[in-house]
């Protein structure tokens, strides 16, 4: 089937070709593995970001509840504050830049 005419050069050429192919396959697989790892990292980061955003929105809401007018009013009352007596309210007219 194979002739004896296969000389060293041919065998060397075949070996080099085989090595080249193996190298290309390795590069392909390595690149694929790196891409897969990066994709997985990205997916994980996107999901973490979504969780953090959830927490942010939730905490922002809690903060707003604590700063609501009703809550502030109750806290002010607890601290002994009461409604303003208008007779004790004095208005100061501050002149503008033109003296008006």
């Amino acid at each position: 089937m194979f002739s004896d005419g296969w000389d060293r050069h041919t065998v060397l050429a075949l070996l080099l070709l085989g090595l080249l192919l193996a190298g290309l396959v390795f590069l392909y697989l390595w690149q694929g593995a790196v891409l897969a790892r990066l994709r997985a990292e990205r997916a994980s980061l996107v999901l973490s970001l979504a969780k953090l955003e959830e927490q942010r929105l939730f905490l922002e809401h809690k903060l707003r509840e604590l700063c609501s007018l009703e809550t502030l009013s109750q806290r002010a009352q607890a601290l002994g504050m009461g409604p303003v007596d208008l007779s004790r309210l004095h208005y100061l007219v501050v002149p503008d830049e033109n003296g008006g």
Partner: protein
């Protein structure tokens, strides 16, 4: 050597054959049967997650959020794959506050899917999940979702409305603007490894978030009104109260408050109705200001003319009385308004006549929808003049035989404040929408002056706030119940006011109703409420006395 080459060739040939067989199989799997296998792999490895879009936020005029979506979780169970059901029952009772019976009914229900709880707060859901994992409970499903939150508590809930568990607007502005507020869900796909670790994620559909809604309401004025109504309900026999504050120049609704209000912690569905818009009442003597406007604009009364103030006055055989059947010496229209003398206003209405009075009342927007952007608004009751009897004309002068909503009364007084130009009251910002001209500016100015006098010296004096020139007209009226007529103990008190009367910036209407006693008067309920609302607005710097407003900042 030759034998060795032959053997090597044979091995190479066999290996090549095996390689070809593998290639052929790969070709079959990846080319011919690609679709089936890809679908199978997708079903095993891929999650398709539909994340409901975040509903638009509702803001007040200053950008204070009144209603928005916060993240939440809906929790379900796959009953067939559930482990440790008895622990799950305990967890539901302890963490989600379920009764033991309810928890057992859900947990032991045969089925692949049972909702355990919808729209659970994020912190509660996270704790629940951690505890379930620690107790090795398997078969639970957690779905991210949104939950409507109200950072200002129950403030203006009847205006804002509610959203159902599926994110649909059910009432109020949430219902009226459901299409605007709702968005399109976002769809993502996650590729997972065998242990569930995600190793790829992509967006199939970015979705669209709902659009925000900016209102004309001012949360500070809204809060002031609600606090005032709550306080009056605590200290009087009033069953309920409502307050409307308008900017008469633009028609912007700055507050639309009521008490009692819907409480998300203790829901009573009937309180979701903004009754300032949906319920009709007889306006009582607050109507006198509008009748006087028609008369002045037609020129059938003058400033110095004196009217007879004796009580009762007989009209078509019916005795019409003043409050407490009190008689007055002859008095001018200004004094009659200040003292709220029914028998004088009857004479004024008779001079105007039914057709003209009806025409003015229609121009003021009574008997028709104001067009405020809230569902369920009613048009009130204003019969055509051909159906009015002499008595109807007479009693309409002090607000009987007609029915108005609080928003109608506020809009009508806003027209008086806006020199006769009626503007549609609105909750969404925009250009003022003129609905017609009611009367001449000079007539409006004169009636405002009379009503300023009424607050300075007359029945409206509990609304007086020194330096703020409040004007307005109070009213107390029995409530007519369909089929029963005027029922003892059922009373409406009202105050329609504005300030400063010479160039009004605010129109305020306050209404209270009771079903407990006849001893219920505007002078001790609605009128002082207006005064306290103005004081509160002044005390937090929302408004300034007119002489300061000209120089400084106005609210």
């Amino acid at each position: 050597m030759r034998t060795a080459v032959r053997r090597a060739s044979l091995v190479f040939f066999l290996l090549a054959l095996a390689g070809l067989a593998i290639l052929a199989r790969l070709f079959q799997l990846q080319v011919f049967e690609h679709r089936e296998w890809a679908a199978m792999a997708q079903a095993i490895q891929e999650d398709r997650i539909e994340i409901p879009s975040r509903r638009g936020t509702i803001y007040d005029r200053n950008g204070v959020p009144l209603a928005y979506d916060i993240p939440a979780y809906s929790i379900a169970v796959d009953n067939y794959h559930l482990t440790n059901p008895e622990l799950l029952v305990n967890l539901l009772v302890k963490e989600l506050g379920m009764s033991s019976e309810e928890a057992k009914a859900k947990v032991y229900r045969p089925g692949y899917f049972t909702w355990l709880a919808r729209n659970v707060d994020l912190d509660v859901a996270q704790r629940f999940r951690a505890l379930a994992q620690a107790q090795r409970i398997k078969g639970l499903l957690f779905f991210p979702t949104w939950k409507r939150a109200y950072p200002q508590g129950s403030m203006a809930l009847e205006v804002l409305g509610l959203v159902g568990v599926d994110g649909d607007g059910l009432s109020g502005l949430e219902l009226a603007f459901d299409e605007v507020l709702r968005g399109k869900p976002r769809i993502i796909r996650i590729l997972r490894a065998g242990d569930g670790t995600p190793y790829d994620l992509w967006e199939e559909d970015p979705g669209t978030p709902g659009q925000d809604l900016h209102l004309t309401l001012d949360s500070r004025i809204q809060w002031i009104c609600e606090a005032e109504l709550d306080e009056t309900l605590r200290n009087s026999p009033a069953d309920r109260g409502c307050a409307v504050v308008l900017d008469p120049r633009s028609g912007e609704v700055l507050a639309l408050a009521q008490s009692p209000r819907y409480d998300p912690q203790n829901p009573a569905i009937e309180l979701l109705k903004p009754w300032a818009v949906t319920d009709v009442f007889e306006p009582g003597s607050t109507f006198k200001g509008l009748v006087a406007l028609a008369a002045w604009d037609l020129g059938v009364v003058s400033e110095t003319e004196q009217f007879e103030g004796s009580s009762p006055r007989i009209v078509a055989g019916v005795a019409i009385k003043n409050a407490h059947n009190r008689s007055y010496p002859p008095l001018t229209l200004r004094d009659a308004l200040a003292q709220s003398v029914n028998t004088v206003l009857v004479q004024v209405a008779q001079r105007v006549g039914a057709p003209k009075l009806y025409e003015y009342l229609r121009r003021l927007g009574l008997g028709e929808l104001t067009g405020i952007e809230l569902p369920g608004e009613v048009a009130g009751l204003l019969r055509p003049p051909e159906k009015w009897t002499e008595v109807d004309l007479a009693v309409s002068s002090f607000g009987q035989s007609v029915g108005v909503t609080a928003i109608q009364l506020a809009a009508a007084y806003a027209a008086l404040c806006n020199d006769g130009i009626r503007i549609r009251p609105h909750l969404l910002p925009g250009k003022p929408e003129v609905r017609g001209t009611v009367a001449q500016p000079s007539s409006c100015q004169k009636i405002r002056e009379f009503l300023g006098y009424a607050v300075n010296t007359g029945t409206g004096s509990p609304a007086k706030v020194p330096g703020f020139n409040v004007g307005g007209k109070s009213g107390t009226a029995q409530i007519a119940i369909p089929g029963r007529g005027y029922v003892p103990g059922h009373v409406t008190t009202a105050m329609a006011a504005f300030f400063p009367w010479d160039s009004p910036q605010y129109t305020i209407v306050v209404i209270y109703q009771t079903s407990k006693t006849d001893d219920f008067w505007s002078g001790t309920t609605a009128v002082p409420s207006v005064g306290r609302i103005v004081r509160a607005m002044a005390s937090i710097g929302l408004v300034y006395p007119p002489e300061i407003t000209g120089l400084g900042r106005s609210g």
